[in-house]
């Protein structure tokens, strides 16, 4: 098992930089998720760690050893690809045992290790099939089996669940989590799906345009987003974000609507400052239908007309217009609301976020 450290890691294609000198320390046996929108450089970063892309600058260490110029085969890693990348002309058993065969391991050992991995992944009945005879989920399990038989120091996952349907994805997510608990090695997992990142990772790295926006536990990035981008990226439905100006104890929105300045920001922002106000749908709810108990909340009530509702069964998403924008609120224990109906909305300001309108940095610190 091993640590992975990236130091000022840069990737350029020609003159175009795609990864701008990122730093990251991955602890031994940690499960790290790299998330971000497409084109943010997360896959490129993973491929540089794997050795499939050259490094334009900086350094990568695996287990303390500099691996910048080592080919993938010398890095003791294994990788699971989005498209599974199985060898179509080999059976499941041959696919899984291929790396061991290449490493010159004796037949008996290969058979034993393949059998063990097959048992872990419930692939025993499929060992003699070819990839073309397997379903998507089975192929994905074979790809994982191929990764675990090698007992690598680091597992790299490149959007492994993106090609699966929603139901299978949820199922495989749990399998991956169990697998990590069992093999207990360092994992770096790239995904654009924040739910995967939140549910699987010990720490999440949120990337944007080749930069790291925030590194933190799922709790951190959800509760304490460091930037406006993270606030908008993590959480579903996304956080309500709207520009406002601070004016003695108030937030004034375009169009004149106001909210009280949340208490936790009283001594942190001065009057006249342009900010972005953020509030999760969970913290904006029709009065009496929220998550938080009343005593800790700093609730501000506004009466608004409902523009649209999305009933999801156990909850309903209620859309209303406030300060010229559509705001999403989450109603627990839902009751029937019709569009146009007036409803009292509770803004739980103790959970609100403020970001600098220019830099996008959180003003909480």
């Amino acid at each position: 098992m091993a640590t992975v450290s990236l130091h000022s890691l840069v990737k350029r294609y020609g003159n175009i930089p795609v990864v701008h000198g990122i730093d990251l320390e991955v602890a031994d046996r940690e499960f790290i998720a790299l998330v971000g929108p497409s084109g943010c450089g997360k896959s490129t970063t993973l491929r540089m760690i794997a050795g499939l892309e050259d490094i334009s600058g900086g350094e990568i260490r695996i287990g303390g050893n500099l691996v910048n110029d080592l080919p993938p085969r010398s890095r003791n890693i294994s990788m699971v690809f989005q498209s599974y990348a199985l060898y179509p002309h080999m059976t499941v058993a041959e696919n899984m045992g291929f790396s061991l065969k290449i490493a010159g391991k004796p037949q008996t050992e290969i058979a034993a290790r393949v059998a063990e991995a097959a048992k872990t992944l419930d692939l025993e009945a499929l060992l003699h099939r070819r990839p073309s005879q397997l379903s998507g989920g089975q192929r994905q399990r074979v790809a994982m089996g191929r990764a675990i038989v090698r007992n690598p120091e680091v597992f790299l996952f490149d959007e492994p669940l993106s090609n699966l349907d929603a139901k299978l994805r949820t199922q495989m997510r749990i399998e991956i989590k169990k697998l990590h608990a069992k093999v207990n090695s360092t994992v770096i997992y790239v995904t654009h799906d924040q739910v995967e990142a939140m549910t699987l990772a010990d720490r999440i790295v949120i990337m944007r345009d080749g930069h790291i926006e925030q590194v933190g536990t799922p709790e951190d990035v959800f509760r304490r987003p460091a930037t406006r981008f993270v606030a908008g990226f993590i959480g579903s439905p996304p956080m309500n974000l709207q520009e406002a100006t601070v004016e003695d104890g108030k937030l004034v929105f375009a169009g004149g609507a106001t909210l009280p300045l949340p208490r936790q920001f009283h001594d942190k922002v001065e009057a006249g400052r342009k900010v972005v106000f953020g509030l999760r749908p969970d913290d904006l709810y029709p009065t009496g239908h929220g998550i938080h108990s009343g005593e800790q909340a700093e609730v501000h009530e506004v009466e608004k007309a409902v523009t649209l509702t999305e009933p999801l069964g156990n909850e309903t998403l209620v859309f209303t217009e406030f300060a010229g924008h559509e705001w999403i609120s989450r109603m627990l224990n839902p009751k029937l609301l019709k569009p146009g109906e007036k409803v009292k909305l509770s803004f739980d300001l103790s959970q609100a976020h403020l970001f600098d309108a220019g830099t996008g940095m959180s003003l909480r610190a």
Partner: protein, 320 residues
């Protein structure tokens, strides 16, 4: 008048007896009618000539004595062939040419394709240049190589002497082995591109991830090629092999121009022998018998490569 009346009468009578549709009864059904032109053309240009040539291989037919085609002699032509040393030498030489040329073209074509695929810039122009040799008529290729291998004025001897590698005039097209090599060179030069193009198509169609997976799995570049890339390319190589084996099994033009099977039949291959027997010696019956044996060779090679192709495709096809 009378005839027409009879027809009408008959039709009426039949109509009365066997209900409707009697007029259609002596017409051809529509599907047959529509397919007929195709059958007629096929019969005229393929089936009849084929049967005629097969028949003539059972006669002592000579072009100089047309009536000899009516003398049926059974398998005598074939019996003669099986004991004809000259024929079997030509047969063997054709198989040798086929085997050596296919292998060489395969290796060179693979190399070319791998190199061209690596080119990041100007790949299209390289692909076009690569196909140049295929754009020349084999007859012209024959003439060109005949000139190049000429022992007096040829480019090859000139170059070898200028470089000081030899001070003799090497008899390229006179010595049996050397002439075979010269023909082989012309053949390989003109057709390596077939392999290169098919294999390049395979390389370009091939997904990248398995190769990357192999690199991560610990493969050296050679192992990656051996275990991952090559199995993907095999179907493409076998298609090229099938095409080229048919090509070489009927090779004629390059050899005809360069050596005409000579000197003294040292480079005689099947079709130069067949053409000589049929046209120069005018023994068309015997030549046709030879041709039928030669076709067997083509069929055997085609069947062989198709089986390999099916096997290779079954392994990788489902993925693409």
């Amino acid at each position: 008048m009378n005839e027409a009346g009879t027809v009408v009468e008959t039709a009426e009578t039949r109509g009365g007896n066997a209900s409707t549709g009697t007029l259609k009864a002596w017409r051809l059904p529509a599907p047959v009618l529509l397919l007929l032109p195709a059958f007629v053309v096929l019969a005229a240009v393929v089936v009849v000539p084929l049967l005629l040539s097969l028949y003539s291989s059972f006669t002592p037919f000579r072009l100089t004595r047309p009536d000899s085609i009516w003398t049926f002699i059974g398998f005598r032509n074939y019996e003669r062939l099986f004991t004809d040393w000259e024929f079997w030498v030509a047969f063997g030489r054709t198989v040798l040419l086929l085997t050596v040329a296919l292998n060489l073209e395969m290796v060179l074509g693979l190399g070319l394709a791998l190199l061209v695929e690596k080119a990041t810039r100007g790949q299209r122009i390289l692909r076009t240049i690569m196909m140049f040799p295929m754009m020349f008529s084999p007859v012209l290729v024959g003439f060109q190589f005949k000139f190049m291998f000429n022992d007096n004025v040829g480019l090859i001897n000139n170059a070898l002497q200028a470089l000081g590698l030899t001070d003799r005039a090497i008899p390229w097209l006179i010595d049996g082995t050397l002439a075979f090599i010269a023909i082989l060179t012309a053949e390989v030069w003109s057709s390596t591109a077939v392999f290169a193009i098919f294999i390049l198509a395979g390389l370009m169609a091939m997904p990248r991830e398995p190769v990357e997976a192999a690199r991560v799995d610990g493969c050296t570049p050679w192992q990656t090629f051996r275990y991952v890339t090559w199995p993907y390319l095999m179907p493409f190589a076998f298609i090229a092999m099938t095409i080229r084996s048919l090509d070489i099994a009927r090779a004629y033009d390059i050899v005809k121009i360069m050596t005409d099977g000579g000197p003294a039949k040292r480079t005689e291959i099947l079709w130069t022998l067949i053409a000589r027997t049929g046209y120069s010696d005018a023994r068309m019956g015997l030549a046709n018998a030879m041709a039928y044996v030669a076709i067997l060779l083509s069929i055997v090679f085609t069947a062989l490569f198709f089986r390999q192709l099916a096997k290779a495709r079954a392994q990788v096809a489902a993925e693409w």
